[in-house]
């Protein structure tokens, strides 16, 4: 197992190096000049050229890549071109809202979806099953921004129960933190509820059809014990896989939700950096995303061994 983890970590370094090179080349070959954006619309060519020189953007691409790569090897993600703030600081500042949103969303999604999926499978073909699966289709189909605006209209503008937008750090109080996350978590979570419920149902149906489940039923094991203890554990591998992918997607892909609810998370940081051509931020964020994906994949793979003793590395 330890050898496997070491191998995976080594391969991670290679993956990150390839991602780094790819992103660097892509960004610098695409049109866009941060110096021109910094200087403003009324700036002269001479002013823009001075800023370019100051930022080192006039150096050859290989020199710029070498400089960036050397910093990365030293654990330095660089400095934002616009704000002069270390990229690592900006990413850390923006991680709290994104992780909070991701955790809340997955808590809502997993708790609802697994219950819904298990009971749908147990009552396959019933009205309840059809209702849950109908909801799943709806959850997939409704765009996050539409659900978000509808929730804001009902709960923020009409009822005034919850805020329209913004994020409060947990240090500002648990309730303030929570109330700012409720609507975005629901808006974002609907699709994941649908996804996880469908996977859970399908996986459970497979397991429930197995011989050992029939035996358990014949031996008089109660329905709840049979479903939750025997079936769910054996059906868990695909469910954990989809949850892992979901968490990774959430951390890197909550741009729309963060925009609609004005949450200063990593998604907003990335989009803003792209529009400004703030290369160090874009490169840093993508490297961090790649690292998060790899780490979550590793954790999911390790979780398989806990869920299914037959799986060994």
């Amino acid at each position: 197992m330890i050898a496997y983890i070491v191998r995976r970590l080594l391969s991670t370094a290679i993956v990150l190096a390839i991602v780094g090179l790819f992103v660097f080349m892509l960004l610098h070959l695409a049109p866009g000049d941060p110096a021109a954006i910094i200087a403003g619309d009324n700036a002269t060519e001479a002013q823009i050229a001075q800023i370019r020189k100051l930022l080192g953007l006039e150096d050859a691409l290989a020199v710029q890549f070498g400089r960036w790569g050397w910093r990365i090897l030293q654990g330095d993600l660089g400095i934002s071109i616009f704000s002069n703030t270390p990229v690592a600081t900006l990413i850390l500042q923006r991680m709290e809202p994104t992780i909070s949103l991701a955790v809340m969303t997955m808590l809502v999604a997993v708790s609802l979806a697994i219950v819904a999926g298990v009971f749908s499978a147990a009552r396959a073909g019933s009205a309840f099953d059809r209702l849950v699966m109908g909801f799943a289709v709806l959850g997939f189909s409704a765009p996050v921004f539409v659900v978000g605006y509808v929730l804001v209209y009902i709960f923020s503008i009409n009822l005034r129960w919850l805020p329209v937008q913004g994020y409060k750090p947990i240090a500002d109080g648990l309730w303030e933190w929570l109330r700012h996350l409720i609507l975005p978590s629901i808006a974002l979570g609907l699709a994941y509820v649908a996804l996880i419920a469908r996977i859970t149902r399908a996986s459970m149906l497979d397991v429930l059809a197995e011989d050992y489940m029939r035996t358990a039923r014949a031996k008089g094991v109660s329905q709840p014990v049979m479903l939750m203890k025997h079936a769910l554990k054996n059906a868990a591998v695909p469910i954990v896989t989809i949850i892992g992918i979901g968490v990774a997607l959430l951390i890197s892909g909550v741009v729309i939700t963060e925009t609609v609810f004005n949450i200063p998370g990593i998604g907003r940081l990335t989009v803003d950096a792209i529009s400004k051509r703030d290369y160090p931020i874009i490169q840093g964020v993508i490297l961090v995303f790649a690292g998060v994906y790899v780490a979550i994949n590793l954790l999911v793979d390790l979780a398989y061994t806990l869920l299914d003793p037959r799986i060994r590395y």
Binding site: I37, G40, D41, N42, A43, Q93, S156, I157, D172, V260
Partner: protein
């Protein structure tokens, strides 16, 4: 171990108290909502140094933090701000300025003449109008702690106007220490003597920028008028909230989470109707003007006839209608200096009064000897008015006989490509669209795009000797009446050689929730003089 219901309740209450404690602690330092204005401004504040960038939002930020030596009043006249007394020598070559009493930076240190001179010199290194002026400046001696001079080589009529100007770059006074920073480097410490203090600790970059009332600020006694007069702060805090989604900003003001939106999307304004707490007000009464730059370096626009053809091709009101819908938000304008500015005039505007004329445009294009080569039109798809202008004008250009190649990117792509001087078929361009405040168009020295100095000038690189002679003459004029007469001459000449094209002037209202005292002026949203009514 068992847990009784009472123990559980006690534990839950304790946990809640611990979780809530930081908020209680902070409440003592956070001003109440009734003393805080939260505004959504037109853009994200990316750079904090107003000398380093020409971005308007940085100028807004700087007006909060720094004070200026002069301000401009509602009649567009320069008025002393940090300056107490000032005078001009009989030969009109030496200006003497004396600071008023009691001026302090927010760190408590006194503002001195040395701070002012250092700030003037740093500003002059970057600003176009200041550079034009400094070509005629011999020296800027400091006479004593409160007095300094600007000594000219020859009389120059715009000294006070330049020192008072809004827009970008503005002459803000920094401490000498910061003002001595290389003008090509960003100032790292933000300390001014303005009405507010920038609260960097409360800032979330890209999200929220916080300004607290400056207790050391000593406002003038005159009533506030544009950027002149008493900058009396009537709240404890102003927060620039950066809400990227326009619908979210509208929902937030309806729910009372924010108090001000500088430019709400006009398509969403209906949603604000019927809410008695929210008013809509056009603060920038001169508005903004969209302009298309034509590349003078390459065919077809290196030929004056092809440029003149564009005058008859574009119908500004129709471009505006596509973006702003309601005619109360826009107008066409044929004046080189924008409509509503002191320099507005109607010299040589027959082309505008006659409206769109494709027959005339086709005739002029034929006379230009246009050979049908592709004309590269840059389209910024992420800025609605530029996107619409590009789409419509490209269509009209086709009708006028141009072979148009519409090339889309985001605005970041356009600002990069517009600097490329290679031929259009090798990565260059022929037309791009942008906008500027109409107030800026009213000053042919202040707006860098007014220059016709060829490749030394702004993108598009128009060239016309007579225009440059007239610009210098305008700058040297002693009175407004003289300037107006020269402005007519300039316009007469300009619409013959066609430095650029206008595609409409618009007036976007701001949304205010329970606010009174907003100073409506071009190129700045001041938050002094403003108070909350609920």
């Amino acid at each position: 171990m068992t847990t009784s219901r009472r123990r559980f309740t006690q534990g839950a209450i304790a946990a809640g108290a611990i979780a809530g404690a930081p908020a209680i602690g902070r409440a003592q330092t956070t001003p109440p909502v009734s003393r805080t204005i939260r505004g959504v401004m037109h853009g994200d504040l990316r750079v904090f140094d107003p000398v380093w960038t020409t971005a308007n939002i940085t100028s807004y930020h700087a007006h909060m933090v720094y004070d200026t030596l002069f301000g401009v009043d509602s009649k567009y006249q320069p008025q002393p701000q940090m300056v107490g007394k000032h005078g001009l020598s009989d030969d009109r070559k030496t200006y003497t300025f004396e600071l008023r009493d009691g001026l302090k930076f927010s760190d408590g240190t006194a503002v001195t003449a040395r701070d002012c001179v250092a700030s003037i010199r740093r500003w002059a290194a970057r600003d176009g109008a200041a550079q034009h002026m400094f070509a005629r400046v011999a020296d800027t001696p400091v006479k004593d702690d409160k007095t300094f001079q600007i000594v000219l080589k020859e009389p120059y009529g715009l000294v006070l106007d330049n020192m008072a100007k809004t827009g970008t770059n503005v002459l803000f006074v920094m401490r000498e220490k910061e003002a001595q920073t290389d003008p090509n480097q960003q100032v790292q410490t933000i300390i001014g003597s303005g009405p507010f203090i920038f609260n960097q600790g409360a800032m979330v970059q890209g999200q929220r920028y916080v300004y607290d009332k400056n207790p050391n600020y000593n406002p003038r006694s005159e009533p506030a008028s544009y950027s002149a007069g008493g900058k009396v702060v009537k709240v404890d805090r102003v927060v620039y909230e950066n809400i990227a989604d326009e619908a979210t900003a509208i929902a937030a003001i309806k729910a009372g989470e924010i108090d001000f939106i500088e430019y709400p999307n006009v398509d969403l304004l209906d949603q604000l109707e019927g809410d008695s707490a929210i008013t809509q007000e056009v603060l920038n009464k001169q508005g903004n003007m969209g302009w298309a730059r034509l590349n003078f370096l390459y065919p077809p626009f290196n030929n004056v006839k092809a440029r003149q053809a564009m005058l008859y091709t574009v119908h500004p009101s129709d471009v505006m209608k596509a973006t702003f819908g309601n005619p109360k938000f826009f107008r066409g304008c044929g004046s080189l200096f924008g409509c509503g500015t002191p320099m507005e005039n109607d010299a040589n505007t027959e082309w505008f009064k006659g409206g769109q004329n494709f027959a005339k445009a086709r005739q002029l294009l034929k006379e230009s000897g246009y050979d049908g080569r592709p004309v590269v039109v840059l389209q910024a798809t992420n800025v609605a008015y530029m996107n619409n202008a590009a789409t419509l004008i490209a269509q009209w250009m086709k009708e006028a006989g141009f072979n148009v190649s519409l090339q889309a990117s985001d605005w970041g792509g356009v600002v990069t490509r517009r600097a490329v001087k290679t031929p259009p078929d090798q990565g260059g361009w022929n037309v791009f669209f942008t906008s500027a405040s109409v107030n800026a168009f009213g000053n042919p020295i202040g707006l860098v795009g007014h220059a016709a100095t060829g490749e030394k000038g702004w993108f598009g690189w128009p060239s016309d000797e007579k225009h440059e002679v007239l610009r210098d003459k305008w700058a040297a004029a002693a009175t407004d009446d003289e300037r107006k007469a020269i402005a007519r001459e300039m316009q007469e000449n300009a619409w013959n050689f066609v430095p650029h094209i206008y595609y409409g002037q618009w007036f976007q209202p701001s949304a205010l929730r329970n606010l009174k005292g907003m100073i409506g002026m071009p190129e700045l949203v001041p938050f002094w003089n403003v108070e909350k009514t609920a």
